[in-house]
Symmetry: C2
Subunit: 332 residues, 2 copies
Amino acid sequence: MVATLKDVANKAGVSTSAVSRAFTDGASVSSKMRKKVEKAASELGYSPNFLARSLTTRRTKLIGLVSNNFHNPIFLEVFDLFTRGLQDRGLRPLLVNLSDETNPEQSLQMLRQYSVDGVLVASSTLPPEFSMAFRSKGIPVINTFGRYSSSPEVHVVGIDNVEAGRMAARELAQRNYKAVAFLGGPEIATSTQDRLKGFREEMAKYPLIRISHTFAKEYSFQAGRTEMLRLSKGDVAEAYFCGDDVLSIGVLSAIKDIGLEVPKDIGLIGFNDMKMSSWESISLTTIHQPIQQIINSSIELMVAMFDEPNRYPEARLFPCQIIERGTLRPRL
Amino acid sequence: MVATLKDVANKAGVSTSAVSRAFTDGASVSSKMRKKVEKAASELGYSPNFLARSLTTRRTKLIGLVSNNFHNPIFLEVFDLFTRGLQDRGLRPLLVNLSDETNPEQSLQMLRQYSVDGVLVASSTLPPEFSMAFRSKGIPVINTFGRYSSSPEVHVVGIDNVEAGRMAARELAQRNYKAVAFLGGPEIATSTQDRLKGFREEMAKYPLIRISHTFAKEYSFQAGRTEMLRLSKGDVAEAYFCGDDVLSIGVLSAIKDIGLEVPKDIGLIGFNDMKMSSWESISLTTIHQPIQQIINSSIELMVAMFDEPNRYPEARLFPCQIIERGTLRPRL
DNA sequence: TATTTCTTTGCAACCCGTTGCAAAGAAATC
DNA sequence: GATTTCTTTGCAACGGGTTGCAAAGAAATA
């Protein structure tokens, strides 16, 4: 049915090695030979079978792209950037939807069966052990958006969540809020823990500011809304640092329902700066996470690991940035 | 490094065929043999290489998942459902981001090189020729969310966009709007064309209703917003049928800026019923597209084609449904 | 032109599995 | 117990490529 290397060799009257070489960059072939082969190949509509090739080259150019977050719109941006970045380098993303799973075993086995060249774990909630499982089997792995401190054995590309928490704290302090709160994502998420940690650390410098914290069940609109509605039954803070933009939007919705106004009655700063946050109807002040850079860097690091599998693990952290929009009152 | 079938065979003291059979369902192996092999295999941490296997079985279980829309949040839901559905059946999605490309050649070649078992084209904007290219090379292909009428050679799973357009028209008529407009996505998108077609057809039955139409540059918030702002400089209709929810949300934002109120001054009905449309702060009346069913059905059809590659092409269309929320005035 | 060096080519083994076929072994029948 | 039938096993060829090595050919040097 579909033409093979042998067919091309027959048609061109040359050996199979010659054909193979004609399709390999930098192989030892004369240009006459290459021309002859290419002619035969194009007449037959031949192109090499990557999977057969991978058997000997040990390179599939398949990359496992693992995520456990298919609900937060920011991940659509993430997938877009990852797929384009990989494609541009001739790599192919094998998408793995982890859903509720946090155990690496299944994914690990599956990705090994497909001999992926590497694995990109795109998650800010998975425990470091997840990525470690791949590394310990010798598969290059990058934990994008991961926590760097606790897993120095694995490459991490992302941001310093602790510092981001401090940044939020400084910002609220500068705007003279006297009672602030952190409204995080799921308590077990490493990103939430770290942002809270930084937030408290920094706030400790302002003894006059009251601080509290609480967690939403997940990074989602409804979770944010629900949590804020719950909070509204008690003492409401003057400003909230919200662990994620989609969560923030839920919170905004709740605030409106309660009958309060942003930023007049209550301040809000989000996290991520997803596209939607800049929509005029939302206009969320938030902390921008440079996902374009993070993703590019993740891919570059992955590619570098192909040549240097035992590369010493590093953490690549990018600075975040406050994006001023309409949900915090002006600075002093 | 990683254990192969031969290693297992040596360790267990049996032939490679025996090992192979032990890992194949329904193969002729005694249970003693299987036990022996499994023991050796688990000691070595062996699991079969799918790609090597695929050379002889001619099944990779890889499915190309092709999309050109990484901006509309509905596609996050689509990816979620597709990846889970495929995984549940032991299939693996190889994600292809088409971006601006509409030419199938590159994707076709790439997916052939990876010997995918089938291709799912998830797009309501790609021309039918795109999917046809795969079919003509003998690769099972389903056009999910595609247009059925113009490409009877390819399997299509989705909705009847013309009928959906009629549905919107009926709904607006029933609510006694006297000047309505269709605000579609990109004019070249088949889905936009069909929805407009149905909308006009149905509206033709109501000679007293004035009707017009216009197109946004793409299915996005900004495109919707921009288009509505532009429209606001001229004659504004009483109600808009918007070709997509994210577009609608942009339109809503513009309406607010203009100083009009929904549904008091102006009505709006969207399309898709993405998660976000049900957020309390948006509460968009819209037409629900049953994407869960569409995607399940697409996958089932794909699987059926494995056994019956020349299956006569069919269109599977699912009915849509109006979801009443807060952006249309009550029925008469 | 003869010799040396470099480039190009083909052979054959290999990558990691599967599978048709025949031989060996076990079970069933007489 | 001998014969027939069924099950299990191993051999060897195969799937679609790549690659080390040696031979052949071309170019460079003497």
